[in-house]
């Protein structure tokens, strides 16, 4: 690009800087546009296409001076009217919400006790939470098959301690899938909560105690409200990936455990119905956008409020 003659000539260092800037922005931008966004546009296009054998019909045809735009929306109409699909969406949201609540219930006290443990222990405790991340997630999910099997460790333990007489059917149920989901996503809840709780100013609790509040009341009226951003961040990190989960329902879920990721997979790999799989993918993105937009709104409000509070 040549500069207009009216501008003062750039020094060679400035020119090099501009060139560097163009590359640093341009290369990743182009890569993501080409291999992330463009493919999604292909999915959008295929979701409204008709398949003739292995070919897709053209969306826009030109014949005798007339452009014809043909969009096949029957896939979407089917998604919106078929009971199985509606049930799948509902149960995906239900499992994701349940997973978020259980992770919060287990993870909040965990993060709290971590953050209130002696400062010398904290790095080790923190490392122990993140360490399983470095081993294969697939293998850790698979491990639960051995634990929850009819002859697995959990059933053996329960029978040996006479809690139950005969092994329970734990594997391939919604229960085993929930165990796998909570197990996988619990660290995603604990880490942001810990990061939030460990920074809290404990003098606030002392002040509350001096003013006569019980520890319990101090916890609910000070600690929990102050950790709100950690709760929201952790919940997002659990809720959104759970919605799209495929591996855990496939390995640990029952035949009737409905999850949307699994339906997409089956439409594509078992039924070979590409347009339908694409329509499911598009509707999944829409499903994920809802909590994301809400989260963004919350964050903007939070930073807006923060900006107002600080003089």
């Amino acid at each position: 690009m040549s500069n207009p003659p009216t501008l003062p000539a750039l020094s060679s260092a400035q020119r090099a800087q501009r060139r560097g800037r163009r590359w640093v922005i341009g290369v990743p931008y182009a890569f993501l546009l080409l291999f992330f966004s463009l493919p999604f546009l292909v999915v959008l296009r295929i979701s409204v296409s008709d398949m003739e054998g292995v070919h897709f019909t053209d969306l826009l045809t030109y014949l005798d001076g007339v452009f014809t735009l043909k969009l096949k929306v029957s896939n979407y109409l089917f998604l919106a009217s078929d009971k199985l699909y509606l049930d799948t969406y509902l149960s995906s949201v239900k499992f994701a919400a349940l997973n978020t609540l259980i992770c919060l219930g287990l993870g909040y006290p965990f993060a709290y006790f971590m953050a209130r443990s002696p400062a010398a222990w904290r790095p080790a405790l923190l490392m122990l939470v993140s360490l399983p991340f470095w081993t294969s997630y697939l293998l850790r999910v698979y491990a639960w098959r051995g634990l929850l099997d009819d002859q697995g460790v959990v059933n053996d333990l329960l029978v040996a301690t006479h809690v139950i007489d005969a092994p329970l059917k734990l594997m391939h149920t919604s229960f085993s899938m929930m165990v796998g989901l909570v197990y996988t996503y619990l660290p995603f809840m604990i880490l942001p909560l810990y990061a939030n709780l460990v920074k809290m100013d404990l003098r606030l609790l002392e002040a509350a105690a001096d003013l006569g509040a019980s520890p319990w009341k101090g916890f609910w009226m000070i600690t929990v409200p102050l950790s709100k951003s950690g709760i929201v961040a952790g919940s997002m990190l659990v809720f959104i990936p759970t919605l799209g989960e495929y591996v855990i329902p496939e390995l640990l879920g029952g035949p009737s455990t409905l999850m949307i990721g699994r339906v997409l997979w089956d439409e594509f790999f078992s039924n070979n119905d590409w347009p339908m799989a694409s329509a499911v993918a598009v509707s999944m993105v829409a499903l994920i956008l809802i909590p994301l937009v809400l989260f963004n709104k919350y964050q903007n409000e939070a930073t807006g409020a923060g900006a107002r509070d600080t003089p």
């Binding site: 800087q17 291999f35 799209g244 990721g261």
Partner: protein
Amino acid sequence: MNSRLGRLWLLAGYTFLYAPIVSLIVYSFNGSKMVTLWAGFSLRWYAEIAHDTEVLDAFALSLKLALLTATASVILGTMAGMAMAKYRVFRGRTLFIAHVNAPLVVPEVITGLSLLLFFVATQKIFGVPAERGLWTIWIGHTSIFASYAAIVVNSRLLEMDRSLEEAAMDLGARPHQVFYLVTMPMIAQALMSSWLLTFTLSLDDVVTTAFLSGPGSTTLPTVIFSRARLGLSPSVNVIATVTVAVVALGVLVASLWLAHQERRRQRDETLAYREALDAAARPTLP
């Protein structure tokens, strides 16, 4: 709150997190063909896997893929992280940031499906890619995992002291010199950890790989996944145990290296400080 309850809760939590891993390791030494039935200590499944060509070939491919993915992701991620941290204003910045964040929230079934359909379309139009395999999976992994590297590098750059870069520039360093001599040493740790992170993510990925692999390109997670789907398999326990051993070793080496770096940095700082003091104590020349 009650510290006994706290200790109990933490203990229960860590048991929950580690019990599955421990059980995998224990049962990998089980002599029985029935995975859950204990039949005495044995190394037979280890001997068997040493001759399991399906597993060994898949592992070699996974390793190659993870090396390529981690390297490409760190390069692209560093550029993207720098673009976000350094250039506060440019056309399309909001869209750029959305692009970097999107792979973190879009489920892999969608990313995998869209890239596959994209490759099918480009093959029909341009004849590229001729077949699916290592390179198509590599592009898929990089398009997702580069974002993880970008986030790590970006947050490190944001907490870094920018005045050093400015000083280098004022002293006449060229942009690439500033990057190699000032920026890169300062973000070395972030580069290292994002390389390791993307390496493990790629080594572990099954969903995107399933969409983008061809007939001759089976990765280790794909083998594990298909065996795990069929039921319990002693070979999977052995793979798990080896993975855990390698990770434990890696963590040990990494933490020793970090401790060493920290010590060296402190020593350098003390030296620099002492020198500065000496210089200050010296009488100034007239």
